[in-house]
């Protein structure tokens, strides 16, 4: 009987501990609330997507701003655009590394694509009051339809349209939102007549699981960002996109009114130095060397003489 009593006691304690942990979790609630209350006029809130490369750029912005005398509140890894865009629009976040084309499409579902400059101009017009974009960088990190080199060789694939040559069933893999994106499987069918056999969710935003699935041939077509160092290291091919199915996605700082001329100057200097090769190299330090975002940012800013 003693064992049972002890078991009960352990159970009660376990429940109590669990409840405390659960309540503590509730108390810390929405991380953005804290950002709101602590934000004063001197503090700039820098946010980032839940994407390592975006976090590196955000960290670069943050460190450059800190070097310029600004106080920075970091609110990183917030989520996908659907989750953080309302926060930026409501003024909770002041600086956010964005991608021109994807942001434009999020603001205007029927926006027309085009060259990076055309997209940038359209984006400036589409932004709501209180938000602006600073200079865009040469660096682009675009969505792409990516296949393995072997798959591309088998069917002589070069661009997206050539996927019609593929005779085996094509399974697409990626985040579940990919299914409903304007460049998703439906667009492939309607625009190019490419038959997509199925969709497999792999919820790591083109990360290692998606790459492995592609290499293992469990999926044949994946949405991987062009600045991903895995493309080179795993012998993958991002198919050409001559028709701009994907919008050009140049890195651009999306900022609120609280970003003044001197802060804008700092961020523009960063954008001027950032090109795609640099971005791939920065990403590679994270992916291949497992370096932390702040270390990567400090090293690069120092090497460029920006801090």
């Amino acid at each position: 009987m003693f064992t049972i009593t002890r078991g009960r006691l352990a159970l009660v304690s376990a429940v109590a501990v669990g409840a405390v942990v659960a309540l503590a979790g509730c108390a810390s609630g929405d991380p953005l609330d804290e950002g709101n209350s602590s934000a004063d006029s001197e503090t700039l809130v820098v946010g980032s997507q839940d994407y390592y490369s975006n976090e590196i750029i955000a960290e670069i912005y943050a460190q450059a701003l800190e070097n310029g005398g600004f106080t920075v509140d970091r609110q990183f890894r917030i989520g996908q655009r659907e989750a953080y865009l309302p926060e930026i629009e409501s003024g909770s976040i002041d600086v956010f590394p964005e991608y021109s084309g994807s942001l434009l499409q999020a603001l205007e579902a029927d926006a027309a694509g085009g060259s990076p400059d055309e997209v940038y101009t359209a984006l400036e017009a589409a932004l709501p009051d209180g938000l602006t974009v600073l200079d865009q960088a040469d660096a682009a990190d675009q969505n792409s339809w990516t296949v393995t080199q072997a798959f591309a060789d088998t069917y002589g694939l070069t661009d997206i349209a050539s996927l019609t040559e593929v005779t085996e069933p094509i399974t697409v893999g990626g985040n579940s939102e990919l299914e409903t994106r304007p460049y998703g499987p439906t667009a492939l069918k309607e625009k190019y007549g490419i038959e997509i056999a199925g969709f497999t969710p792999v919820e790591d935003s083109g990360g290692p699981l998606t790459v492995k699935a592609l290499v293992d041939n469990k999926i044949q077509l994946a949405n991987i960002y062009t600045a991903d160092p895995n493309i080179e290291s795993n012998n993958l091919v991002a198919l050409d996109d001559p028709d701009n199915l994907f919008f050009p996605d140049n890195v651009v700082p999306l900022v609120s009114d609280k970003v003044d001329a001197s802060a804008a100057e700092i961020l523009n200097a960063v954008s001027a130095a950032l090109d795609t090769d640099t971005l791939v190299a920065l990403n590679a330090q994270s992916v291949n060397d497992q370096a932390a975002a702040d270390t990567i940012a400090t090293e690069w800013l120092t090497a460029e003489g920006l801090i």
């Binding site: 009987m1 064992t3 049972i4 078991g7 996908q80 659907e82 989750a83 893999g173 985040n175 579940s176 939102e177 299914e179 409903t180 199925g198 969709f199 497999t200 969710p201 792999v202 919820e203 790591d204 290692p208 699981l209 492995k212 699935a213 293992d216 469990k218 999926i219």
Partner: protein, 237 residues
């Protein structure tokens, strides 16, 4: 409340009952996946737990190991296994089995340990072999605690099986992931409600089973006149 109403609307929307993403199909996948996971975990944990409970050996090791297993974050393990075996259902099965083993193991050996030693000694004294003691005394008497372990494992697995959708086109987790990423919170909440209902339904079933597996003579229902006819050691109390 508005969101809640739209989630209910989402659940009732006939459009969500056709095709490859139909609600009944997802519920079925979720249920089959969860039950198979609990079966696999049982096949590993019950014999092991009985061995530990009967011999009294290796208890310390079992407690430490299952404590360690409980501490493993399931999503982390899932990703790790998926990087090794690739995407598909295997990785979720492995990760969720690891999640389900500790409560079942604990249920199995505590079930044996909770039995009054005098009962086991009495069984030995009347000439039962060790195997008979296990089969006729320890297993039936330990059943309520084992079912308790299975119940807790099933609840955890049903709730966590949503993670299977991270690497496979499977289960109710699909609604949660796609709802979250596309800001379709009605779909997300609707999916969550379905998971909760499923968990509650299984809880109810297990609560019933737990009532019926209590051997006559050990339950609080002593007043229902235990029969002495069999002379079984359980009736001696």
């Amino acid at each position: 409340m508005n969101l809640f109403a739209s989630a209910i609307d989402w659940i009732l929307d006939p459009a969500n009952y056709v095709g490859l993403n139909a609600i009944p199909l997802r519920i079925g996948q979720h249920l089959v996946f969860s039950l198979v996971t609990v079966l696999i975990a049982s096949a590993i944990a019950i014999p092991l737990g009985y061995l530990i409970g009967h011999t009294g050996r290796g208890r310390g090791l079992a407690v430490t190991t299952s404590g360690g297993l409980r501490a493993i974050p399931t999503l982390g393990l899932l990703t790790l296994v998926a990087l090794w075996v690739g995407i598909g259902v295997v990785a979720p099965y492995v990760a969720l089995t690891v999640l389900a083993i500790p409560p079942i193991l604990a249920g199995a050996y505590t079930g044996f340990e909770a039995i009054d030693r005098r009962t086991v000694d009495a069984a030995r004294a009347v000439g039962m072999s060790e195997l008979q003691i296990v089969r006729k005394v320890e297993v039936p008497l330990g059943l309520p605690l084992l079912i308790g372990g299975l119940r807790s494992a099933t609840l955890q697995v049903i709730a966590t099986a949503t993670l299977a959708a991270y690497v496979a086109d499977l289960g109710l987790g699909r609604y949660l992931f796609s709802g979250l990423k596309t800001r379709d919170y009605a779909e997300m909440l609707g999916g969550s409600i379905l998971v909760i209902l499923l968990a509650l339904a299984l809880e109810g079933i297990f609560a019933l089973i737990q009532r019926f597996v209590v051997p006559r003579g050990v339950s609080g229902r002593l007043d229902t006149a235990p029969t002495l006819r069999t002379g079984s050691p359980t009736a001696a109390r």
